[in-house]
C-alpha cells in the first residue's frame, strides 16, 4: 500500500548538496523507511546545517513534502501522510557543540542518540534527565520534536524546563536559533518552547543545548500496592502533600504490571512506584513517611531494569499486543482518577482490556488497549473506543492516539481537540513553514 512518487528531477540536486553516497534512491530500500505505509521517494542524510538549509530552501521553492527523521522510534505517530517527497535523516549531525562539565551544560547535534549523550556525561558524574522509550535509537532532535519524556519528568521537569537552546532550519529554509548555552537567558523569543513537541512541523532541529544534573549517588524504589486505582491515587496525594521529593512517582495498573514484569503473579493490584535519591538517612525517612503501604523495595540492577521497562512501556505493550491502541494523555493531576474510571468503563463496554501507567504527580497517562481474548475481532470497536474517550474528555485534557491498527488509521485522528487556540498555532506554522513542507498532513493542519 505504498505510494511511491518518483521525483527524478530532484535527485541530482540532492546529490549535489549531500554527495551521491548520502542520497537514497532505491525503492526497495526506501520502502523500509515508510511512514504508516507511505514510502519516501528519496532520502537524504546531510552532514551539516548548511546542507540542511540548502535542502529546505530547495524543498520550499518546489513545494516538496519532507519528513525529518531521527531514530524512527516515533515516526509511526501522527496522521497518515499523503506523500513523502524527501525523508531527511539527522544521523550525521552529531557533533558536540559545547560541553564543560563544570557548567553542567551541553550542546549536541540533533542526530546524537539519548543513550550516547547520557553515556558521555555519565563519565563526569552528570546526568541528562531525558528518559524516552528506546534511548539507544531515540535521537535528541526526535526527542525535542516529539516532546517525549518518561518517569523522570516528575523530579526533573520536562524538556521545556531544561532545554536552554535550539538551532534549526525553518520550513522555508532559514537557518536560525533560539536561546543559547547558559542556564538562564531571556534574550529574544523562546524558540525552544515552540519546537518542543512541534512534531517536526516548524523546522528541522539541527542541535540543542541542555542543562545537566549531578547524577544521584544512590537511588531506591519503593513499591506500594492497592486494590483500586482510587486508593493508589489517594496515596499519590499523600506523597505530594508530604515533604518527600521523589525523582519518579508512577502509577502502574494491574495489566501494565503483567506486561512490564513478565512471570509476575497475576493479581489485581494497582501500584504506586516511587523512586527516591539520597543518602541512607534520606531513604530511611522515605521508608518512615511511606509506611506500611510499601510492600517491596528495589535497588541496583533490578531497579534500573524496572525503570527501563517503564520507559519502554509503549513499545513493550505494542509488541505483546500488536493489534492495540496506544494512547497518551496530558491532564491536570486531579483528573487522573475520573479519566481512569472513564477509561475502565469504555474498555468494559467495548470488551477491551487495558494497561495504564503514568506520571500521576504531573498529569500524564500512557494507556494501551486491546480487545479482550473472548471478544469478537472488530475494527469498528477500536474506532468506537477512541471516540468514546474523546467524547468524554474533560477540560484541559489532551489525548493523542500514538498507535492504532492500520485498518483504522483513516478513521482515527491522531491528535483530537487541544486546549490551545488552533488559529494561533496556525499563525506560527505559517510564519515558519508557509508552504507546509514539513510533515504535511501529519499534525494539526
Amino acid at each position: 500500500m505504498s505510494t511511491v512518487t518518483t521525483t527524478p528531477r530532484f535527485a541530482p540536486v540532492f546529490r549535489a548538496i549531500c554527495g551521491e553516497k548520502y542520497v537514497m534512491e532505491d525503492p526497495a530500500e526506501l520502502q523500509a523507511w515508510n511512514v504508516l505505509g507511505v514510502a519516501p521517494a528519496l532520502a537524504v542524510t546531510p552532514a551539516s546545517v548548511d546542507e540542511v538549509t540548502n535542502i529546505l530552501r530547495f524543498a520550499n521553492q518546489h513545494g516538496l513534502s519532507m519528513v525529518p527523521a531521527g531514530g524512527f522510534t516515533q515516526q509511526q505517530v501522527g496522521n497518515l501522510p499523503q506523500q513523502i517527497d524527501v525523508l531527511l535523516f539527522t544521523s550525521r549531525l552529531t557533533a558536540v557543540e559545547h560541553y564543560d562539565a563544570g557548567d553542567l551544560t551541553v550542546g549536541i547535534g540533533a542526530g546524537c542518540t539519548v543513550a550516547q549523550l547520557s553515556a558521555m556525561v555519565a563519565e563526569n558524574g552528570l546526568f541528562f534527565a531525558g528518559d524516552p522509550a528506546q534511548p539507544e535509537r531515540c535521537t535528541i532532535g526526535g526527542l525535542l520534536a516529539t516532546g517525549l519524556y518518561g518517569p523522570l519528568r516528575h523530579g526533573y521537569g520536562g524538556l521545556r524546563d531544561y532545554c536552554i537552546g535550539v538551532r534549526f532550519v525553518t520550513g522555508d529554509g532559514r537557518k536560525a536559533k533560539g536561546g543559547g548555552r547558559v542556564v538562564k537567558n531571556v534574550a529574544g523569543y523562546d524558540m525552544m518552547k515552540l519546537f518542543i513537541g512541534s512534531q517536526g512541523t516548524l523546522g528541522v532541529i539541527t542541535s540543542a543545548s541542555f542543562k545537566l544534573f549531578p547524577a544521584p549517588r544512590q537511588t531506591r524504589t519503593f513499591v506500594a500496592v492497592f486494590s483500586s486505582a482510587a486508593e493508589a491515587l489517594e496515596f499519590r496525594y499523600h506523597v505530594l502533600r508530604s515533604p518527600l521529593d521523589p525523582i519518579c512517582l508512577e502509577l502502574v495498573s494491574p495489566e501494565a504490571h503483567k506486561l512490564l514484569v513478565p512471570g509476575s503473579p497475576a493479581g489485581a493490584w494497582w501500584s504506586i512506584c516511587l523512586r527516591a535519591a539520597g543518602s541512607d538517612a534520606v531513604l530511611a525517612r522515605y521508608r518512615t513517611e511511606l509506611g506500611s503501604a510499601v510492600v517491596r523495595e528495589i535497588d541496583g540492577a533490578n531497579e534500573r531494569g524496572f525503570w527501563r521497562a517503564l520507559e519502554d512501556f509503549s513499545p513493550i505493550a505494542a509488541e505483546r499486543h500488536p493489534r492495540s491502541l496506544s494512547i497518551s494523555m496530558t491532564l491536570p493531576v486531579r483528573d487522573v482518577q475520573p479519566v481512569l474510571s472513564e477509561l475502565a468503563a469504555v474498555a468494559e463496554s467495548n470488551r477491551f482490556a487495558f494497561a495504564a501507567i503514568g506520571r500521576v504527580g504531573i498529569g500524564h497517562l500512557l494507556v494501551s488497549l486491546w480487545q479482550a481474548p473472548d471478544a469478537e475481532v472488530s475494527m469498528v470497536s477500536f474506532v468506537n473506543v477512541v471516540s468514546a474517550l474523546r467524547n468524554h474528555l474533560l477540560h484541559d485534557v489532551s489525548m493523542a492516539v500514538l498507535r492504532c491498527p492500520s485498518e483504522t488509521r483513516h478513521h482515527v485522528s491522531a491528535w483530537g481537540p487541544m486546549p490551545t487556540d488552533l488559529e494561533s498555532m496556525r499563525a506560527v506554522k505559517m510564519a515558519l513553514d508557509p508552504k507546509d513542507v514539513l510533515n504535511r498532513g501529519r499534525f494539526l493542519f
Binding site: 540548502n54 536560525a176 538562564k184 531571556v186 524558540m191 544534573f213 491536570p332 506560527v428
Partner: protein
C-alpha cells in the same frame, strides 16, 4: 507605520466609554507618572487606561488597531529594561484594577490570577495552604505577575526552580485584533505547540495577557541559609563552581562583593562582615535530612575554597535579615549615588571568576565604581554602575563600560539578559547574540500576531533593520542553476 494619535481627545472619549469615566488619565501631570519604569528611559504616553476585565482589554485593542495607536501593557513599572515604556503619545493599559486572584486549585496546585496581582500577594494568599509561587524577583513586593509573564522574570530562587515560564501552564490573551484566545490550561503540558511557553517572555509584543494559570509549589520542610565569608571576590567566585561540582544544587546562591556588602550593611544592618572581600549567600531547601547533609557539604566546600568563615542562620529571623540585605541592596545604593545602571548579563558558571576580574578591570579603565550583587549560581550578573546623570561625560563612560561587560559575557558563550528582558535598553545589543536570520525568524513570528506593530513597538528587536544577510554563493553548477 504608526502615527501619533492626532485625534487623541476622540480616542480618550472612546477609552472612557470602554473602561469608565474614572478609568482613563490624559492630563500631563498624571501621564508623567507613566513615562518611566525602574530603568533609565522615559517617554510620555497619550493616555493611560485602567481596564477592569478582559472584554474591556479586547475593546481597547480593537480601538488601538483601528486608530493605529501603539499600546503597551503595564504592571507596576518595576522593570529594568524599558519593557513597559510607552511609545510617545501611545496608550498605556495599566493593570492595577485587574488584580484579583480568580481561583486557587489546591489539588492541582494551580492558581488562576489576573495580570495585576502582585507577585508576593499570591504567595501570601496561599501560604496557609502550605503553598507558594516560586518566581521571586527582588521587586516581588511591588511587581505584578502580568509583568513577570511579559519579561519572564527570575529571582534568587530560580537556580532551583526556574524562571517564570517554568511556572506558567496557561494564559488568556488578547491579540491586537481584539480577539480573546486561550493557550494551555491547568495541565503541565498539552499536545499542540507550546504557545504558553512562547508567549511568556515575549515582552508584550505578541498579545496582552489577561489571565494566567500558574503552578503553586509546596513549601519545603526545611530551609538552611548560610553565609560564606571570603577574603576576595576570586575565592568566592571559584567556590560557586566548586559547590556545583560537588553535586549540590542550592535553592539560591548569591554573591555580594565587598563594596556592595559594606554599602548594604550601612543601610540595613543585615549582619554582613564589613571587612570581607565578598560573601556568598547560600540557601538549601528540601527534606530535613537532605538539607542537613548538604549544609555540611557546602560548609566543607567553602572552607576548602579559603572561606574565612561560614555562618548559618540560626532561625527564621536571622534568615530574614540575611535576605533583607540582599533584597534591599538596590535601595541601599540610592543613599550613595544619584543614579545607578544595572546590567543583567549571563556567563557559563565556570566563567564567573574571569568575568569578575574583567568587571574589575573595566571599572578601573573607565574610572567608575561598579558594585556586584548577583545570582552567582546560574551565572547571572548584576554589575551596578554608579553615576550622576548631571555628568554627561561620565554617563558616556557608563555606557561604554556596560557595553564592554556585555561583550565579554557574549564572548564567554553567555547572554545579554538573564531575567530583566531586552526591552528598549538592550535591543541594539541583540545583533551581538543573534544573526540577522535568527532575528528575522523571530520577527516573522511577531508579525504573525502583531503585524501592524501596535503592540509594544521599539522593543526587543534592533533598529534600523539592516538588509538581510545572504550566505555566500555556491560554486556547484547544479545548485547555482537551482538558485541555491
Amino acid at each position: 507605520m504608526l502615527h501619533l494619535p492626532v485625534n487623541l481627545p476622540g480616542v480618550v472619549d472612546h477609552l472612557r466609554k470602554i473602561a469608565g469615566r474614572d478609568a482613563v488619565l490624559d492630563r500631563p501631570e498624571d501621564l508623567m507618572l507613566y513615562e518611566y519604569d525602574a530603568g533609565i528611559r522615559k517617554s510620555t504616553p497619550g493616555a493611560v487606561v485602567f481596564p477592569q476585565n478582559t472584554e474591556q482589554v479586547s475593546q481597547i485593542m480593537r480601538l488601538a488597531t483601528a486608530e493605529s495607536i501603539a499600546v503597551v501593557a503595564r504592571g507596576a513599572g518595576t522593570g529594568l529594561s524599558g519593557g513597559s515604556i510607552p511609545q510617545e503619545g501611545g496608550i498605556v493599559i495599566a493593570f492595577s484594577r485587574m488584580n484579583r486572584i480568580l481561583e486557587v486549585d489546591v489539588e492541582n496546585q494551580r492558581a488562576v490570577v489576573q495580570p495585576g496581582v502582585v507577585n508576593l500577594q499570591l504567595s501570601e494568599h496561599v501560604s496557609h495552604l502550605g503553598l507558594y509561587f516560586a518566581p521571586d524577583p527582588s521587586s516581588q513586593k511591588a511587581c505584578t505577575i502580568g509583568g513577570n509573564v511579559a519579561e519572564n522574570s527570575g529571582g534568587p530562587h530560580t537556580l532551583m526552580h526556574g524562571v517564570t515560564v517554568n511556572h506558567v501552564t496557561g494564559v488568556e490573551v488578547v491579540l491586537p485584533s481584539g480577539e480573546i484566545v486561550h493557550f494551555g490550561g491547568k495541565a503541565a503540558e498539552s499536545y499542540g505547540y507550546d504557545m504558553t511557553g512562547f508567549l511568556v517572555g515575549s515582552e508584550g509584543t505578541v498579545g496582552i495577557t489577561t489571565a494566567i494559570t500558574v503552578k503553586l509549589l509546596r513549601k519545603p520542610e526545611k530551609i538552611a541559609t548560610l553565609l560564606g565569608v571570603f577574603e576576595s571576590v576570586d575565592d568566592a567566585a571559584l567556590t560557586v563552581s566548586a559547590i556545583t561540582a560537588a553535586g549540590i544544587t542550592p535553592a539560591a546562591l548569591e554573591m555580594l562583593d565587598g563594596w556592595t556588602l559594606r554599602t548594604v550593611e550601612a543601610f540595613c544592618h543585615a549582619g554582613y562582615p564589613l571587612d570581607a572581600g565578598a560573601v556568598l549567600l547560600i540557601e538549601l531547601e528540601g527534606l530535613r535530612e537532605a538539607v542537613e547533609e548538604q549544609a555540611i557539604a557546602v560548609r566543607e566546600v567553602c572552607l576548602r575554597q579559603k572561606a574565612r568563615e561560614v555562618r548559618r542562620a540560626k532561625d527564621e529571623e536571622e534568615r530574614a535579615l540575611l535576605w533583607k540585605g540582599r533584597k534591599m541592596a538596590f535601595a541601599a545604593l540610592g543613599r550613595v549615588t544619584p543614579s545607578y545602571y544595572t546590567q543583567d548579563g549571563v556567563v557559563p558558571r565556570s566563567q564567573i571568576p574571569a568575568v569578575m576580574r574583567h568587571i574589575g578591570n573595566v571599572a578601573k579603565k573607565y574610572d567608575l565604581i561598579i558594585g556586584n550583587i548577583f545570582h552567582a549560581g546560574d551565572g547571572n550578573l548584576h554589575p551596578l554602575i554608579l553615576f550622576d546623570m548631571r555628568d554627561a561625560a561620565q554617563f558616556e563612560r557608563v555606557l561604554s563600560a556596560s557595553w564592554e561587560i556585555l561583550e565579554f559575557c557574549i564572548q564567554c558563550g553567555g547572554s545579554i539578559t538573564g531575567e530583566h528582558g531586552v526591552g528598549m535598553e538592550k535591543r541594539d545589543l541583540m545583533p551581538l547574540l543573534f544573526t540577522e536570520e535568527d532575528l528575522d525568524v523571530m520577527i516573522s513570528l511577531r508579525n504573525a500576531f502583531n503585524g501592524a506593530g501596535i503592540l509594544n513597538p521599539q522593543k526587543i528587536f534592533p533598529t534600523p533593520r539592516m538588509c538581510r544577510e545572504i550566505s555566500g554563493p555556491t560554486q556547484n553548477p547544479v545548485l547555482m542553476q537551482e538558485g541555491l
